[in-house]
């Protein structure tokens, strides 16, 4: 399974004695790598440091945590301040999981067809699905708001899950079909020749091979669904608001007063840590999924 083109170096080094020139080059590469590393980590690090800092010293600029406290985390979960962050976390999990489940359920078959079968209208189908993923979500906002108000769905979970399908499903189909097209389907043929039924061949041979791809796609779909803000902001009530909405409105729009940044950074840290752990664990597959699908959440 050639999951990773990305693991081959762009330029394979030609073997030759290590010259000063080469050392200089490798020094430059490490310098570049350091810059990229700082790019990726510094703001995230600053969020964590701020979350751990006593709110009175929130604008301290020492690059390491000072006045360490867990107060911000307590404040984040404090429901007396008009926000219910704990509930928002639950809501995001519900919305993200339901969206992912529906997208996978519908998407797997289409992805299989696009990856495995040659049929008339294939380009039309993949073009349609791709254009759906590029569709500005803001066009859906007003009609859906009206529709869901008419149906009495405003503020219910389905009012956020259904619109999420519009961009998670195309992404799912794209990523899955590119994973599927790399599976060794000859094994299925071989199993059939050895006497397995079509269903047995699929279940015993192909399904286990496809499982990691489906799992990776699920992670990407979940991250995309949890990331959504515009529609959730319009269509959720206080009780069903996901984390993105909760964090955006944390501290309210209280003009002159400085928002409770310590608590906001704590909330941000809590949301981000599980995502970061997922990314670290499945880095390779996530990258191949992202680049294969080429669709950003």
């Amino acid at each position: 399974m050639s999951t990773d083109v990305l693991d081959q170096p762009v330029n394979k080094p030609v073997r030759q004695p290590v010259s000063w020139g080469r050392r200089l080059t490798s020094g430059r590469v490490y310098l570049g790598a350091l810059i990229v590393l700082i790019w990726g980590l510094a703001p995230f690090y600053w969020m964590v440091v701020t979350a751990l800092r006593d709110p009175a010293y929130i604008f301290d600029n020492t690059p390491w945590p000072t006045h360490i406290t867990f107060d911000n985390f307590r404040t984040a979960f404090d429901t007396n301040r008009g926000t219910d962050f704990g509930r928002a976390l639950g809501n995001s999990v519900i919305i993200g999981a339901a969206t992912t489940a529906i997208a996978l359920l519908l998407g797997v078959m289409a992805a299989y067809a696009l990856a495995r079968l040659t049929f008339r209208g294939k380009y039309l189908v993949s073009g349609l699905i791709l254009s759906a993923s590029m569709f500005p979500v803001v066009v859906l906002a007003t009609p859906l708001f009206q529709l869901f108000t008419d149906l009495g769905w405003y503020g219910h979970y389905q009012a956020m899950i259904i619109p999420n399908i519009s961009f998670v499903l195309p992404m799912t189909v794209y990523i899955l079909s590119s994973f599927f097209s790399e599976l060794p389907w000859e094994l299925e043929e071989a199993a059939r020749i050895d006497g397995a039924s079509r269903f047995q061949a699929f279940r015993l041979i192909m399904l286990p091979l496809a499982a990691p791809a489906v799992f990776t796609t699920a992670i990407l779909a979940f991250i995309a669904a949890v990331n959504e803000f515009l529609l959730s902001n319009l269509l959720s009530s206080d009780a069903t608001a996901p984390v993105t909405v909760a964090i955006a409105h944390f501290g309210g729009n209280n003009g002159s007063k400085v928002p409770p940044y310590g608590a906001i950074m704590a909330a941000g840290t809590i949301v981000t840590i599980p995502l970061v752990i997922m990314v670290l664990l499945f880095q390779r597959r996530i990258i191949s999924g992202l680049t294969a699908g080429g669709v950003k959440s």
Partner: protein, 328 residues
């Protein structure tokens, strides 16, 4: 698959009940149906709504009226900045009315798109060159680069809003005293910086994938022929990278043109960072039908840009991906 013929142990293939094309369409049907419901229906409804008047007080009678047909009124409201005055006459919109903000929002949106996408493509290319090299800790670097991408945009917005505070770390590090999230141009650049931080890594990964399908021997041959590193970059890497780069640019441009989360959260209702998307959402609170017209205009604008990119530059996403897939 329930629709398959009854299982048989004979290795001989059974002819399919349906033709291959029909069967394939059966597989993709659920997805197409779902997209018709969640995308097609709202779009049709938005088009219908865009030709209806918003409910409101009829200025001539003082009565509350339910709208009715608006013709192209909602479109001219935005495109020609036409409003209806108290006498029912068509006049140009006064300052502060949504209609008068349309072209400014278009300008801001395109400014953001051009600046962010060019920065992301340039920096992303640099990052991709570094990440493509072989060195210890390469996997770690690639994971680290995914972190900005994995953080939800709403969290990114609050994080950068905090860093851009007057007493915040950005002003401290650079010794400046800029009110980043309130003043026009600083706020625009604050949004741009946050967006570039978040999405450049994604761009870098797309470019890296493109870099790695370039065959090694082309470089070897050029080296033998005495091409310098710079010549190899301009005459080999860039032309061969073009399809992948264009696809990345296409995806990112589409994304940048619908930018909403960052300006809406970081700078709230600031006019200087009002994109078309934030204008639509703002308008939808006061008049759903004129908001629909605006959203249709947004869609047509983005579609036009995609069309130009695909036709003019040959950024064919579907075919390039197929080609990349076959190259593996």
């Amino acid at each position: 698959m329930k629709s398959q013929a009854p299982q048989s142990n004979s290795p001989k293939r059974r002819g399919p009940v349906l033709g291959l094309t029909a069967r394939a369409w059966l597989f993709v049907a659920p997805v197409l149906l779902a997209l018709v419901v969640v995308v097609g229906y709202p779009v049709v409804r938005a088009v219908i709504m865009s030709f209806q008047k918003d409910a409101g007080i009829d200025k001539s009678t003082g009565m509350f009226v339910e709208g009715g047909s608006a013709g192209f009124g909602n479109y001219t409201h935005w495109l020609l900045q036409q409003c209806t005055n108290s006498l029912g006459e068509t006049v140009s919109c006064p300052t502060g009315n949504g209609g008068s903000e349309f072209w400014a929002a278009v300008g801001v949106t395109f400014f953001f798109a051009v600046v962010t996408v060019s920065l992301e493509a340039t920096i992303g290319l640099g990052m991709a060159m570094i990440m493509g090299k072989t060195f210890k800790g390469r996997a770690l670097l690639r994971a680290a680069v995914l972190i900005p991408w994995a953080i939800p945009t709403a969290v990114t917005a609050r994080l950068w809003e905090f860093m851009f505070q007057y007493d915040g770390v950005v002003n401290r590090v650079f010794g400046t005293h800029i009110v980043w999230t309130v003043e026009g141009w600083p706020a625009r650049f604050a949004v741009i910086i946050a967006d570039v931080w978040k999405t450049t890594p994604f761009m870098a990964l797309l470019i890296l994938a493109g870099l790695q399908v370039i065959p090694e021997d082309v470089y070897e041959a050029a080296k033998v022929d005495g091409a310098s590193a710079w010549q190899r970059f301009w005459n080999i890497t860039m032309p061969l990278l073009k399809p992948a780069l264009l696809v990345a640019v296409l995806f990112r441009t589409m994304d940048a043109l619908r930018l909403y989360d960052l300006p809406a959260i970081m700078t709230q209702d600031l006019g200087a960072t009002r994109t078309i998307s934030t204008l639509v959402v703002q308008q939808s609170r006061s008049g759903a039908n004129s908001a629909s017209a605006l959203s249709i205009i947004t869609f047509l604008l983005i579609f036009a840009v995609a069309f130009v990119l695909v036709k003019g530059l040959g950024a064919n996403a579907v075919r390039t991906q197929e080609a990349q897939r076959e190259a593996h």
